[in-house]
């Protein structure tokens, strides 16, 4: 497949929130990356509401209405709502379709009445089981594709997914600090599965005239990052998790090579690297997604975002209204601050504040700081012989950046992990075919259910 071989931006400094090289327009007068940042609100239905289609549609109607009403109450110019499918919405394509249609009805209504700009992202649930079924021909896959169709037909503006290819290997490898396994799971298998899936998604999007949005390595790199956790956690080393993230960038990039146009998925922390390479608008989540998970780069991750998201908030009452409304309000003001900076001609000042807040707080912020993200992007596009070669180059670059900056302080343990991981990366074969040949027997033995044919191998 055609791969990116050059950067969309001349330098990291050229990148800033709100503006992307290739803006995307859709929905109700909604433009992403065209100069302004918008909030992306992700509401999550309460447990129990998934019981019937009727109760779930009703739950979404209430959540969506709360979001749109709060925008008008406070003067927010526009918003994207993500319908992040719970299992039941993809398992039953008509559920997903009907919820998209209900969301669209409400958005049309607010647009007519108040001029509120808006758009819908439908993120279909990838519930294929890599270790139990045929990833390229299963009922799950059929339902997934049918739900993309139904959502596009019903009014979704942006089609996205968090695809799962390679997870059977990375689940095994992440908790064993096995960088080879991660490189194989994310860099090789993940990339191949993204390629397979996104050909189909782009086709569906084109057929319905909607936008193929993006993918995210949520199921793998985010697992590593979430397990790494905060300063007190001792699950996955933070240096190791950061290297997993660099690998994820090479994998997620495949979606855009297949025709996805962005804005990317909010939980793709690898997206600043993607933006540097592909120039597409990105959705990011940071401090205001604390409702969904904690991270050590709450401000930095907003530095080059085009949408700003809460990742997921379960629908409940708070003193200040429902959680959907509350997080719309916080996101909306975050975004207002960014857009004010744009209007004042000070966007880069605010960006640099965001960066300096977290660049040296931890490893993830460090490698995703736009300057370092850009370097990792360059390593990817300069090693485009194979999915493997660019993923490994990204990992090596991330390790080198961490090794080479004395301002990034590391505990002895983290240093040891970084050194051993770096050495392991250097010792791997150069050629993809050699690497694959080496990995297949190892992981067939160690990971129950791993089938190379799921990835065309």
């Amino acid at each position: 497949m055609a791969k990116y071989t050059s950067m969309a931006y001349q330098s990291a400094d050229e990148m800033v929130f709100g503006t992307a090289k290739y803006p995307v327009k859709y929905g109700r007068d909604f433009e992403v990356g065209g100069g302004l940042v918008y909030p992306e609100l992700v509401p999550h239905p309460r447990p129990g509401s998934e019981e019937t289609k009727k109760t779930l549609v009703r739950e979404y109607e209430k959540m969506v209405n709360d979001v749109l009403e709060r925008c008008v109450q406070l003067g927010f110019p526009g918003i994207q709502i993500e319908l992040e499918h719970v299992y039941q919405m993809t398992r039953n394509p008509d559920w997903g379709g009907e919820i998209a249609a209900a969301t669209k009805r409400l958005m049309d209504d607010y647009y007519q009445k108040y001029g509120l700009k808006s758009a819908i992202r439908a993120t279909i649930a990838d519930y294929r089981k890599p270790d139990e079924e045929n990833m390229r021909d299963s009922d799950a896959l059929k339902n997934i594709l049918a739900t993309f169709e139904a959502s596009a037909a019903a009014g979704a503006d942006n089609l996205s997914i968090e695809s799962m290819g390679g997870k059977e290997i990375t689940d095994y490898a992440i908790v064993r600090q096995d960088i080879k396994g991660v490189l194989f799971g994310i860099g090789v298998l993940g990339s191949r599965d993204v390629e397979f899936l996104w050909k189909k998604i782009v086709e569906i999007a084109n057929k319905h005239g909607v936008t193929p949005g993006g993918d995210t390595d949520c199921s793998q790199a985010n697992v590593a990052m979430f397990m790494a956790g905060g300063y007190l956690d001792k699950s996955v080393p933070h240096t190791f998790a950061a290297i997993c993230r660099a690998i994820a960038a090479a994998r997620t990039l495949v979606a855009y090579e297949q025709g996805a146009k962005g804005p990317t998925k909010d939980c793709g922390y690898e997206d600043p690297i993607i933006k540097a390479i592909a120039g597409i608008p990105i959705s990011m989540e940071g401090k205001t997604c604390a409702c969904a998970h904690s991270d050590l780069l709450g401000n930095l991750v907003a530095a080059v975002c085009d949408l700003w998201s809460n990742e997921a908030v379960e629908y409940h009452d708070m003193f200040g209204g429902t959680t959907a409304a509350v997080f719309t309000e916080i996101l909306g003001y975050d975004v207002a601050l960014m857009n004010t900076a744009v209007k004042m001609g000070k966007a880069k000042d605010l960006r640099d504040m965001m960066i300096n807040s977290d660049k040296y707080r931890d490893t993830h912020g460090f490698i995703l700081s736009p300057d370092n993200a850009y370097e990792i992007g360059k390593a990817i596009v300069s090693n485009s012989e194979s999915y493997y070669s660019r993923a490994r180059a990204a990992a090596i670059k991330a390790a080198e950046l961490m090794r080479g900056d004395s301002k990034l302080l590391l505990s002895d343990f983290e240093k040891e992990v970084l050194e051993s991981t770096y050495k392991a990366l250097l010792s791997l074969p150069d050629k993809e075919e050699d690497f694959i040949a080496e990995c297949i027997p190892v992981y067939q033995k160690q990971v129950k259910g791993f089938k190379p044919s799921n990835y065309g191998l």
Binding site: G75, P77, D317, A336, K343
Partner: protein, 247 residues
């Protein structure tokens, strides 16, 4: 300090675009009654006494009361349409109630009310503004309000319900740590076999909480109170009210 000239992209003043209804005068034949109506529509508490007394010189008290109510209906419409805000409605209600009192004196008896409603603010809670607004709006709409006041013990609420047999009970609370009294009231009433709509609202009181116990109906806004009271008086039970107003 640096100030922008152009705020587009930062915020949109949706409030300026809002459609606004028009203040139409309600025209009636009689000049004296017209003045009564006008005083209510204007919330003119300074002059309502005088114009009502003047009208009573030639009109039957019930005719004057009808004019007062007509004025108040007009005010409700204006509030609904965004011409008026809450203060206008409260002032009109003040004026109307003052007028009715004068008429009732003349009649020598109270006018027939639509029904009895008990209101209270939860035990431990001294913030009763919400309850006062509810009282004003209920009275303005013709209900007899038994106002138990603020910081009212559960026992007292239950006793009052037994004594007055209201069509509806309301509870207001600002704090979640005082609103738990609502659930205790609900349990006590239910145990004694009493079933009536118990509308709870205010500050931190959430729909999730109120609909988690029997009898409870969540009141989002004081302005709903008269409409809920109308449902209760018409014979709808608490389940029907909850079905209609919540969820």
């Amino acid at each position: 300090m640096y100030f922008l000239d152009d705020y587009s992209g930062i915020f949109v003043r949706y409030d300026l675009k809002r459609e606004r209804g028009e203040a139409k005068a309600v025209a009636v034949e009689d000049e004296a009654l017209q003045q009564v109506i006008q005083c209510v529509v204007d919330g003119d508490t300074d002059n309502i006494g005088e114009v009502v007394r003047k009208a009573l010189e030639t009109k039957d008290p019930m005719e004057v009361i009808n004019a007062l109510v007509k004025g108040m209906n007009e005010v409700s419409r204006l509030w609904d349409e965004g011409v008026y805000y809450l203060p206008q409605a409260i002032l009109s209600s003040d004026a109307m109630l003052e007028g009715i009192e004068i008429c009732e004196e003349k009649m020598g008896k109270a006018m027939v009310k639509k029904g009895v409603i008990i209101t209270h603010t939860a035990e431990g809670d001294i913030h009763d503004l919400g309850q006062k607004i509810v009282n004003a709006l209920l009275r303005a709409n013709g209900y007899e309000v038994i106002d138990l006041g603020k910081d009212v013990p559960v026992d007292e609420v239950v006793a009052a319900v037994k004594q007055y047999k209201p069509a509806m009970l309301t509870g207001t609370a600002l704090m979640t740590t005082t609103m738990t009294a609502f659930e205790r009231i609900s349990k006590r009433l239910t145990r004694e076999g009493i079933s009536l709509p118990f509308v709870c609202g205010g500050g931190a009181v959430s729909e999730e909480y109120v609909t988690s116990f029997d009898l409870g109906i969540w009141g989002k806004d004081a302005s709903q109170a008269p409409l809920m009271a109308a449902d209760a008086v018409s014979g709808k039970d608490w389940r029907q009210l909850r079905e209609k107003w919540n969820g």
